[in-house]
Amino acid sequence: MSLKFDLDLPRWTTPAAMESPRDLGFDLQPDLPVPISQVGGRYLLFDIKIATYLRREHRICGTQTGTLPLAPSQNLFLGVPIEIMPEEAQLLVEKGVGFIFDEARAHDEAMLQSSDKARRADYLASIHKQSKQVEQVRIEEKEQSRKRALRKRAAKLSAAGTSTPSRQDKPVADLLDFDDDGAPSTVVPTESSSTLDETASLQSESTTKGRVSNPTSSNYHVTPATSQSLLPPSPPQTPKSVIRDVPASYPMYKHLHENGFFMTPGLRFGCQYTVYPGDPLRFHSHFLAVGVEWDEPIELMDVVGGGRLGTGVKKGFLLGGASPAGDVRTFSIEWAAM
């Protein structure tokens, strides 16, 4: 059974979406520039497919900051949204891969202040359609399980030798009706005989028309996980200077990124970035990078401490900065005799 959804609607609300890896977005090539949300001064990615794409193609790893719905009471494993550093956001904007949008303002503009009633109506209708689709899938599931139970029961009866006809009627349906839904479940048995052997394609309105008695009586309310559908179709051009809190180590970050390194925030190690030669899941970091300005006086104690720290964890302590000419020089320090 294949379900077709719009591209921006979340598919993972339905179990059927786990069928093929294509649905998880492993080979996704989204339309550039991809949206990067700015919430409370942080740059977040709410769409896991976009986060995967950035990690795969652009070496932007980010850190998970969201609670996993399947495992809420722990913070070892976290999920979306993925937070990216201001340097990473700046780099994506410069390359034209991403654009920044203020989440709160986007919501306001789309819902409250927008005078484009048609767009609002479209948005609400799409949400509603999503709910309906979820409901359809649920109904299909129940159908399938009911069919299976009936088949089993028929097999049992025939094996026992009795010839009582299997009654496809309400008692069976009521037994299998685990939900608290009122109207939809009673609708099912009347249509069950006609849809038992059919593959229900949800794009065909004939099956849905008969069921939808009341458009607002759906018991499934889907909250969209991303704000992509709220955004106007043509994203505005983000000026380069919109990201305010980019640190002074940005030239070194960009230089290392262009040379193929992956970088993650290095607070755990006492540095600005931990530099990996490949994906962090496959390698240990090679360097602990700290960005300094060209003419900034560096305390010798900091150099000694950083060198000792790096050597203690088998990494190099890297100092880097951009010269006035524009090229970036990096130096790594190691404790000589440890």
């Binding site: 722990q74 607070l267 190690f269 006492g270 104690m301 000694v304 950083g306």
Partner: protein
Amino acid sequence: MPVATNRQPENVSVPTPSPSTKRPPRPKRKGKNFAQTHSKPLPLETHPLPAFHPSNPISLLRLAYTYLSHLLLAPSSHPIRPYSGYFSTETRSVHVTDPEHARALWEMGFFGKGTLSRSEPSWVERERARLMKDRGGGRKAAEDATKVRREERRMFKLERARVEAERIGRQRLVEEGKLDANDVLDDDEKDSSIEAAETVIEPTQSDALATDHRSPNEALNGIFVDEKTIVNDRTLDESLLQNHDSRTQLLEPKTDATPNTATETAPPSQDDTDLCIQDQEHLQLTLEEAFFLSYGLGVLNIYPSSPPETYFPWSIPEPYTNIELFEFFSQYSHFPPSPTPAVDPDDPFLLNYVAYHHFRSLGWVVRPGVKFGIDYLLYNRGPVFSHAEFAVLILPAYTERYWNTPGGRSRRRVWEQKDWWWLHCVNRVQSQVKKTLVVCYVDVPSPFDVDFDEPFDVGSILRRYKVREFVVRRWLANRMRD
């Protein structure tokens, strides 16, 4: 009649030691008695009153006699002749060249550092040991333990790299399909056991090779060596034996000091009299240590390294006064040295000295901590007794209202904030070496309204500072549950 004998009662059997079961006598520990050598915590002499025992009336007389004699003729707590040192402007430190003074300053309070040594001035002993290594039983200083450890570590790293390269080669062959995967697993297990052992390396051979290449005839820094002390024929077995002996005497080397290293005092043999090694190293005191000894304790005289221009050949050189030292040291704590003798309240020397004086007066042994990227290390009793417990980081705190005025803000020497990740870096380094990080805030007073051309009271300036300490520890809620 009863006879007082040591005969045991018959029903109790006590094993009597027979000559065959006698335990061999424990070998006498040849190490230095550090408690005896470093019995005085500071280079001062204390004269406590004798104890009074109520049961012994003579003790009262003794006590009274001592008390009266102290009243009439108080014994001096200071040495008869103060120690002397030279202020070297090139190295911005005070040099103590007299070996007796250097030894006294090191033994009583752990002041200073030998220029050619790790901490304790031990160059002469190491040179003698190096030259006498073939004779066996040389004295081992801390630097030799370090050398052995570093060599071992280097060999271990080479071995590990070789094993790793082999493993990668095998894996590559497996991936190409040329090697069976089962064979690879066995080899990997063997490799991991080798790595876990970590003591496969034999440094004795490398040590022997190293000393073979060094010619004993070279004149090292003007060292005078007699011809008969040079030994040219030496078998490899003998050298291995010597090194093995040396290794059994050394305990597990530690990070900053080897407190239990047996710095042996070998009995003076005939060879010692043949060797005449001129001591090439001196004791180097930091500016804070020197000022503490001079101003705080009054046991050190600091002379200028180059005589002043009005120096007549028959006049005795004058040591610097405390005020001069105060000004010079504050000037030289900047680089390049500040041109005027006027002292800013947030000069690095002043901040460091205030913290140094504070911790010394509380009884800690304070040593410089550049090795760990922090300012001071605090020892309970000294580096030879235990490792440092605390690592002190000194930060100026501009809490007085003057420093928040526009004029004050421009006069601050330290005006940039330290980064959040920098604190994590320092903390992580200290956790690696099992020390506690202590952040020491020195409250800086407003600039001094003192005329630096006239004599002033150093104590009144120092009294205006305040020191606050905070212990910093990293705590993770989901990992530290106890």
